[in-house]
Each structure stands twice: as C-alpha cells, then as structure tokens.
Symmetry: C2
DNA sequence: AATGTATTGCAATTTTGTTGCAATAATATA
DNA sequence: TATATTATTGCAACAAAATTGCAATACATT
C-alpha cells in the first residue's frame, strides 16, 4: 500500500481532503489496465456519481497523479510515473491487446537531446507504437491477404 | 497540388466519390497547423455541415489520410505521413506553441527495435514531448519560483 | 443527358462533460 | 470526543460534442 500512502501525502500537502471517493477512484486506477473515462464512470456507478468521477480525474491530472495515453483515436488514463515506473506502450490494431514497454536508457537519452536541440526544458513525453501482435500476424496469414487500406 | 492527386487516387482506389466537401476538408487539413475537430467544424460552417465534417474525418482516418496527435489532454488532427514527412512534436505547456521535430534515423531505428522485441509488426507510432520553450523559461525566471505541484 | 447510387444536410437523439447549489462528510479545534 | 468549519459530494439542470435515420442532392457511369 506504498502507493496509497503517496497519494495521501500529495493530497495532504495540497490541503485537500482524503475522502472515500478519492480513494475509490485511485483504487480503480491502480487495479486495472489503462481505462477510458467511460470505463471509470461505469466501474464507479452506485459508488460514485459521474460528476465526481470527472472532478476527481481533473484534480488528479492537475496534481500529476494520472496521465493520458493514446490508443489509436482514443485515450485512456493511467497512474503517472510517480506511481508506475516510466514506460511506453505498444498496442495491437487487430485485437486491441496492449503491452507496456519498459524504460530504455538509450531512448530516453535521445528524447532528452531532442528537447535540448529545441531549447525546451522537458517535463514529460509519450511514445505510443501500433501494429500487429504475433497472434494477429498468424491469424492474418491464414486468411486471404488483406488490402492495404480497406474500409 | 501533388497531395490532392494522391487523395483523389486513394478515394478512387476505394470506389469512393471525389466530392467538393471532401476536397474542402482536405484543403483545411493541408493549409493549417494541426487542428482540433472543433476548429475544423468552425472553419467549415457555411460550407459544410457539422455532421459531414465528422463523417469525412472518420473516413479519412480509416483511409490513413489523417492521424491524431496529442497536446496534453487534448488532441489535434493532421495529415498522415503519406502527405507530410514523418515527424514528431514538441509543445510548450506555457504558451501552447508547438514545433515539429524532423525525422531522426537513430530514433526511428530504436523504435523499430522495440517493435521487433515485442514481436510486433509496426504500422505507426507517435512521440510527443512537452515542456517549456525558451521564451517561457525566461518569463518564469522573472516571476517568483513556482511550486512543483500547485493547483 | 439520364440513371443509379453514394454522399450530404437536416432534424432529432444520444452521449459526454459542466455548473450551481444544497446535503454530507472530513478535518481542525476546543 | 463532541462540535464547528469548510471542502467535497450528489443531484438536477444544462451545455457541448458526437451519432443516427432519412430525404434531398451531387457524383459517376452509361
């Protein structure tokens, strides 16, 4: 429960109250894959009002507790790097399956340099990869070849 | 007008009609910085109905003509790599200013390897950096120091 | 130019996100 | 530990964003 302790500290430091709803939402974030707001609202019903979910997510974002990550056209929310180790994502267009890519020094260094070159002081970055996972590649081969840009 | 030719070819290849509205929206995408859907809808009024803007953007996404890029909690749309040279973005939290980062072989290679390591066949990726631009850094120094997690 | 059909615009609807305010719950303090 | 203070929540109403069905229109084919 190290994470909840940190959450409590952040709230305290900002003179914000440690409430059941705030802990509940934090719990949802902690015990699930990255979720959309709709999913979070869904998982909260009966426990927490829609409005409060939105308000708590806004607050958590301002406090740097959560961040948005992109999956194609949509985005999902996950705990930020102070709770989870810094990482990136790769997601399968075929089945939606998503895996975390653990931190790579070489990549992070390169990103730092991009910031320096642009004379920026970097505060954050996201890298998202998309493609077909091993399973979906096999499945595709079995079926007839797909057109490049089918709709 | 090389780009419009490619657009026409993609539509033709998919047995879709080349219409004034589709060309109009493409034109908006081509002649502006990355835009939000709201901005595109705004710039279309009187010419194109809101609904059609949504439908055309959906279509363009399916066809791989446009892609979403993230700016903090929001996203914007821009033409995809078949129209624009592949690049990434760095945006300033202070003033919202955004600059393109031109392709870097080393970075792209590294990303390819991440895909291979996960046994994925990659189709696309996005890298977004955030921070403070040179101007905003100076402005901040003048003002008193900011707390790390102010709300 | 006429025909068939995809595309568009309109109206209505659903979904998503926001606001004000009274009721409630968390903290400070006595 | 009870009470007072005030942040937080839920409710209702609202506003904005996105979607749907269908008739009117415009594009492509002959």
């Amino acid at each position: 429960m190290k994470e909840e302790k940190l959450l409590r500290k952040i709230l305290e430091d900002n003179h914000l109250r440690i409430t059941k709803t705030r802990l509940f939402i934090f719990n949802l974030l902690q015990n699930n894959e990255p979720q959309s707001i709709a999913e979070l609202v869904d998982r909260s019903t009966t426990k927490v009002d829609r409005v409060s979910v939105y308000r708590i997510l806004d607050l958590y974002e301002k406090l740097g507790i959560i961040k948005r990550i992109n999956i194609g056209w949509k985005y999902k929310l996950e705990l930020s790097d102070i709770f989870l180790d810094h990482h990136h994502h790769i997601s399968c267009i075929g089945c939606g399956h998503m895996v975390a890519i653990k931190e790579e020094e070489e990549l992070e260094d390169l990103i730092d340099n991009l910031g320096k070159a642009a004379e920026f002081v970097l505060t954050s970055h996201q890298l998202e990869l998309q493609g077909y996972c091993a399973k979906c590649q096999k499945r595709q081969k079995k079926q007839s070849a797909q057109p490049l840009r089918a709709i």
